[in-house]
């Protein structure tokens, strides 16, 4: 059964909003918004026949039942200081509050030459021509209704432009906070556009935090272009409160010799989905997507990846690890496409899940579509409980059962967190994993 679209208030609202949104006077942008909304209306919310949402359409059904109000209508949320839930991190900082740039929380003062970090709305007002042909050029709407909806409402976000050869010394921290200003559940669509110029090197930490006791719906859409020989490290951390919904879409294009190195840590919230599509569009391009997630209570966490090897000599890898406690549910769908002629492709994928309770569930769907004959591709999936041997080994050294179990769970996740090269970010991630375990102990 598909959802009746007229029952979704956001669509009705969005259709009328377009002219008043930033850049509403720009025909190309209006065209982009209208095409996106049309794509959303044509698809509707995900249903049982939406293959890309096979395991998550039911969990996301709540989106059609609640009156989510776009942030623009809901009114301004205020926040005096950065919340404690946000990783304390020393770096250049740009903060979005319900998808809109929050200057009083940001710090862009020390950005080196060659690095531009601009609020999307302000760039649309001042120099929209710089975004034409770039904004909306990578995002896909096919089986991506939330990306379509968010693009139909696109209003603000962060644009990062790295000139060729630029090197950012300290990581750039992009923060997205979702917070309902009144009683009505708010919906925000923080937009991220990154263009890493040829030969540039940068590390970006993208943090998402939802606050408060009311439902929130965050629909981040990221478009990332890694130009030849650029090296972009992109770490995403999501640490939401219990009633948050988060459906993120990311499209990445890596040109010849470029390296895109991503990590995702997913914690908290009610339902979260990370949809990442990467196209290795130039030879010798690389993409490495690693991640860790931990779900408890009735949390639902979905990672869906499409790694597309379009040309020869590309390398890609995916290593994801998930911990599922209580009634937690994990979904990992990893598709690797090797197009015809993309010879000498090396594509690897591994997903490991640790189930801590009888009621926990994980659904894993690896998919290899290989149309070239000289490639090295593999996928692996493992799912199990804590290793009894390891548990006894630790207890035989004096660790009580709870401490031993926690150390093993922490090690299971840290094993992939260690893939993050930046020391400061890795420390932040390990700290969040530890905090997750400590919070779990307090509940138990």
């Amino acid at each position: 059964m598909s959802v009746v679209l007229s029952e979704i208030p956001v669509v009705t609202a969005a259709t009328g909003l377009s002219p008043v949104l930033p850049g509403g006077h720009l025909p190309w942008l209006t065209g982009l918004r209208q095409a996106a909304l049309a794509a959303f209306q044509q698809q509707g919310l995900p249903h049982r026949r939406t293959e890309a949402f096979k395991y998550s359409f039911a969990a996301l059904g709540v989106v059609g039942k609640l009156d989510f109000v776009p942030a623009l209508i809901a009114g301004d949320a205020t926040l005096e200081a950065l919340p404690a839930a946000l990783p304390a991190f020393d770096g250049h900082k740009v903060v979005l509050l319900n998808g809109s740039y929050a200057p009083h929380l940001s710090d862009r003062a020390a950005l080196p030459a060659g690095v531009e970090v601009q609020p999307l709305a302000s760039l649309l007002a001042r120099q929209p021509e710089r975004l034409e042909g770039l904004l909306g050029s990578l995002v896909q709407y096919d089986e991506q209704p939330f990306a379509a909806l968010a693009s139909g409402l696109v209003d603000d976000g962060v644009v990062v432009l790295l000139e060729a050869g630029t090197v950012i010394d300290r990581p750039l921290h992009i923060v997205s906070i979702t917070l309902t200003p009144g009683d009505a559940p708010v919906m925000a669509q923080p937009r991220l556009l990154i263009k890493a110029g040829a030969g540039s090197t940068a590390t970006i930490l993208e943090s998402h935090v939802a606050l408060g006791e009311t439902e929130t719906l965050s629909l981040p859409v990221a478009e990332i272009l890694v130009e030849p020989n650029a090296r972009l490290t992109h770490v995403k951390v999501r640490n939401d409160t219990a009633r948050a919904l988060h459906v993120a879409s990311r499209t990445v294009k890596v040109l010849a010799g470029g390296i895109y190195q991503a990590f995702a840590l997913s914690l908290g919230g009610a339902v979260a989905r990370d949809d990442i599509a990467v196209e290795l569009a130039g030879e010798q391009a690389e993409a490495h997507l690693n991640g860790a997630y931990a779900a408890r209570d009735y949390q639902h966490m979905d990672t869906t990846i499409h790694m597309d090897h379009a040309v020869p000599n590309g390398r890609s890898s995916q290593v994801y690890k998930g911990v599922l406690a209580d009634h937690g549910r994990g979904v990992f769908q990893g598709k690797v496409t090797v197009r015809k002629g993309a010879q000498h492709t090396d594509g690897q994928q591994l997903h490991k899940a640790l189930l801590l309770s009888e009621s926990a569930e994980v659904d894993v769907k690896p998919e290899l579509k290989i149309y070239a004959d000289d490639v090295t591709c593999s996928h692996g999936a493992a799912c199990g409980e804590l290793d009894d041997e390891a548990l006894f080994y630790l207890r035989a050294r004096g660790l009580d059962e709870a401490t031993a179990r926690d150390l093993l769970i922490e090690g299971f996740l840290d094993d992939v967190v260690e893939q993050v090269e930046n020391d400061a970010i890795r420390t932040v991630l390990a700290g969040l994993v530890r905090a997750w375990l400590d919070a779990r102990q307090e509940v138990a």
Partner: protein, 250 residues
């Protein structure tokens, strides 16, 4: 008082009786060797003493310093002074060796009513002991036993023993998979821990280890119990004659 006293111990796994009446008294400061053919229950005995789940003790008891340990969890036994050096030390990806060692030391300190060990003191302690055992600093940063050779794993186990200073240590086929150099290092590590109040139960199939760690008492274990006990000369006799007599007798 004996440090360890095992009285008429019977135990089974999945309903199959493995131990059929083990009696063993270990006085403080002594090294006992337990020798015997494979598959006769030597490792079962060491697992039961250290409290590994999955075994049913059907009769008899084990006393540590005169107290029955039946109701003690494995970690309580460890903190009370029982140490098992594993035949196959377990690999634990993602947990740094130093983190693990610190957790183990702090568990014991809590049990003794002490506060957590100071970070500097811990580093100094571990590095010192590691050096004595030929364990490189980078091994301490690596995940527990991951990518370690057989010899490195055994040395890592002996390092844990040196740090935890148990009253009673069981070495379960510690010599298996060791070359002669590693055997010497491990044996020296054990010998340096021999004191007037600490005892060892050395489980081995071969006499070789016992020329490095010289026992006070040698037991022959066959058919789920100790069938003969003697001095160090018994190990040499077994080396010469093998276990054939005991296998048929059992």
């Amino acid at each position: 008082m004996a440090l360890i006293e095992i009285q008429n111990l019977h135990a089974s796994v999945d309903g199959k009786e493995i131990l059929k009446g083990v009696d063993l008294v270990i006085e403080p400061g002594t090294v006992h060797a337990l020798m015997g053919p494979n598959g006769t229950g030597k490792s079962t005995l060491s697992n039961i003493i250290s409290g590994r789940p999955g075994y049913q003790v059907t009769e008899g008891r084990i006393l540590l310093n005169g107290e029955d340990i039946a109701d003690m969890e494995p970690d309580q036994r460890a903190n009370a002074g029982i140490f098992l050096a594993f035949q196959y030390p377990v690999e634990i990806p993602g947990v740094a060796s130093s983190t693990f060692l610190k957790a183990a030391i702090n568990a014991k300190r809590r049990f003794q009513g002490l506060g957590e060990i100071d970070a500097m003191e811990f580093l100094k302690l571990v590095k010192g002991k590691a050096k004595e055992l030929g364990i490189r600093d980078d091994m301490l940063k690596r995940p527990v036993n991951v990518g370690f050779s057989g010899g490195e794993k055994k040395r890592a186990d002996i390092l844990q023993m040196a740090l935890l200073q148990p009253q009673f240590a069981i070495l379960d086929e510690t010599d298996s998979g060791l070359d002669i150099d590693a055997l010497r290092v491990v044996s020296e590590g054990v010998n340096s821990l021999r004191t007037a109040d600490r005892s060892f139960l050395v489980i081995t199939h071969y006499q070789r280890l016992l020329s490095y760690i010289v026992p006070d008492v040698v037991h022959v274990f066959a058919g789920g119990k100790i069938v003969r006990s003697g001095g160090p000369e018994l190990a040499e006799e077994l080396e010469a004659k093998g276990y054939a007599d005991y296998v048929s007798a059992a």
